[in-house]
């Protein structure tokens, strides 16, 4: 299993991104976080850079939402070419969204906002092998 080094966060909510960063700091996992506030920017970023180990993807975003991002991700065959795991993050507590999320390849979890230290530790243990440091 890959180590959790690089995380791409796709969310239009600037304040929330601040909190995500803060929460990751609290986990002391020392991951490299990249934030993109537009799904299209995230796609451009993926085109030009190495793929992250994990993508945290918000559902409700203007212009291109999380679902549309996933469609495009599949369209470009990223899901077969890369091992990157995707975790949906949303303030929607809709059951339908939860079910829909699981129908996409590489989407492994659905986390209701706000993401907590425990959530990150759990992801780390479950998908990136290592037992939590510190």
């Amino acid at each position: 299993m890959a180590k959790l080094n690089n995380v791409l966060v796709i969310d239009d909510d600037d304040e929330y991104n601040f909190l995500t960063e803060d929460t990751f700091m609290d986990t002391e996992l020392e991951c490299n976080l990249v934030f993109k506030e537009m799904a299209q920017e995230a796609l451009d970023y993926l085109e030009e850079n190495s793929f992250p180990d994990l993508i945290l993807l918000d559902i409700n975003m203007p212009v291109m939402n999380g679902w549309e991002f996933l469609e495009e991700y599949q369209e470009r065959n990223y899901h077969t070419k890369h091992d990157t795991l995707i975790v949906m993050i949303s303030s929607s507590c809709y059951h339908e969204d939860r079910v829909k999320a699981k129908s996409y390849p590489k989407v492994v979890e659905y986390i209701e906002k706000p993401i907590s230290c425990d959530d990150i530790h759990e992801l780390h243990e479950k998908y990136f092998g290592a037992t939590t440091e510190g």
């Binding site: 909510d13 304040e15 929330y16 601040f18 909190l19 803060d22 929460t23 559902i59 409700n60 949303s90 303030s91 929607s92 507590c93 809709y94 059951h95 339908e96 906002k113 706000p114």
Partner: protein
């Protein structure tokens, strides 16, 4: 009716009956002056056979004939229903015996003519009969016409009525169609409102919740970074509790509007004892505060196949209510039990609390209902679990006595287990 009218337009017919041809010819010629059809017969038999076929206005009947004389013929004419009323003028020789016989013999003869026939007398008598006939006919004609008119009027009236009825039927049909259309429209409206409500709930989840989640998180960071001091602590804590209250309200509201329809894939085998102990742990603080004594007995029905989240919220809500609405006069005792009831499990949560009066009875399951101001809460709990229970094909009811306590009974339907999730119950 029409045939009758045709017969009315025909010329009147006169029958002359005499065995001597010369007599018949003389009479025929004499009667030619009238606008009438003249028939002749040479014998009584011939006369009778003609009488069957034609309607005569008048019969001139010779008395002295061989084989069947005039009297016999007259008797036969009278004995037939169709011909009994035809006027007969007997032609007779001026013979005393014959006249006596005629007078004594009731053949309904109308008149006599003595031979040799006097032309003037004959014509005047026949004329009288024809006049009477045409008068009768006219009257009959008028009568028939009147009847026809009456019948026509009736027909017209019936037709009018039929048209009216058809109009009414059409109106009724269009009203029915209109109301059907209205019902359809209302159903569509309802569906649309429902959809809008769902959309609202969705927007509320994201657009309202997202900033509140941020606020809550930012406040935590604020605290964590040590910005809180003795001076501002009270204010910060109040902001905290306000934010978390908005958050909770929103969360509950979303559940009310958008509780998911069927979540069959989440049906699990639920162990009442384990689930209730979990809930008791969650409510530990409140139970301690209330100094509640809680008794569990799930021996009669230890398990149910149900949606885990729903089962949890049912027990949690009922228990929370029991604590909230406890009586301040005595120590709170709550008994939670289960027993099987057909394909259902009956879950009972009974307390010795304040109880619910008749006025409260109808409000218990309403939205935003709080029965006293003493307790906190948003008044959505029972509304939510009622919708959840009913969506799973069950029901909830209660019995209560004021100042004695309440007993809430939930019929939980044993749902079919989803195969893929089978055995994954936590």
């Amino acid at each position: 009716m029409i045939e009758d009218l045709n017969s009315l337009k025909e010329l009147p017919k006169i029958l002359i009956v005499d065995d001597r041809e010369t007599e018949r010819d003389i009479l025929s010629k004499l009667l030619d002056k009238f606008n009438a059809e003249i028939h002749t017969a040479g014998s009584g038999q011939e006369a009778l056979s003609l009488l069957i076929r034609y309607n005569y206005v008048l019969v001139l009947l010779d008395i002295q004939m061989p084989i069947m004389d005039g009297l016999e013929t007259a008797r036969l004419i009278r004995s037939n229903k169709n011909t009994e009323n035809i006027p007969i003028i007997f032609l007779t020789a001026y013979d005393k015996d014959e006249i006596n016989m005629l007078q004594g013999y009731e053949v309904g003869a109308i008149d006599y003519l003595f031979k040799p026939i006097n032309e003037d007398i004959l014509l005047s008598k026949v004329k009288t009969f024809l006049k009477a006939y045409s008068f009768e006919k006219e009257k009959e004609y008028e009568k028939i016409l009147t009847e026809l008119e009456k019948k026509n009027a009736k027909l017209q009236k019936a037709q009018k009525e039929a048209v009216t009825m058809m109009k009414q039927a059409n109106e009724a049909r269009s009203i029915a169609e209109a109301s059907q259309q209205q019902i359809k429209q209302q159903a569509e409206d309802l569906l649309r409102y429902n959809k809008e409500l769902e959309q609202f709930a969705y927007v509320a989840t994201h657009d309202l919740r997202a900033p509140i989640i941020n606020l809550n998180g930012l406040l935590k960071v604020f605290k964590k970074r040590g910005y809180v001091n003795d001076e501002n602590e009270e204010v910060v804590n109040k902001i905290f509790s306000s934010v978390s209250r908005i958050n909770e309200t929103l969360h509950d509201l979303i559940h009310v509007v958008a509780y998911t329809k069927t979540i069959e894939d989440e049906v699990q085998e639920i162990d009442f004892d384990r689930l209730t102990c979990d809930v008791l742990q969650d409510l530990e603080k409140q139970i301690k505060e209330a100094d509640a004594e809680i008794t569990l007995d799930f021996e009669a029905a230890p398990k149910v196949h149900y949606v885990q989240g729903y089962a949890r919220s049912i027990i949690q809500n009922l228990l929370t209510n029991a604590i909230k609405y406890r009586s301040l006069k005595r120590k709170l005792k709550v008994t939670i039990t289960t027993k099987p009831e057909g394909n259902f499990i009956c879950l009972s949560v009974a307390d010795n609390g304040m109880g619910i009066d008749d006025k409260g009875r109808d409000k218990v399951f309403g939205l935003f209902q709080r029965l006293t101001t003493r307790v906190e809460g948003k008044g959505m709990g029972l509304y939510i679990i009622k919708s959840q229970i009913e969506s799973m094909g069950g029901s909830i009811d209660f019995t209560s006595t004021v100042d004695k306590g309440s007993d809430f009974k939930v019929l939980m339907k044993n749902l079919p287990l989803n195969k893929t999730e089978n055995g994954q119950a936590k």
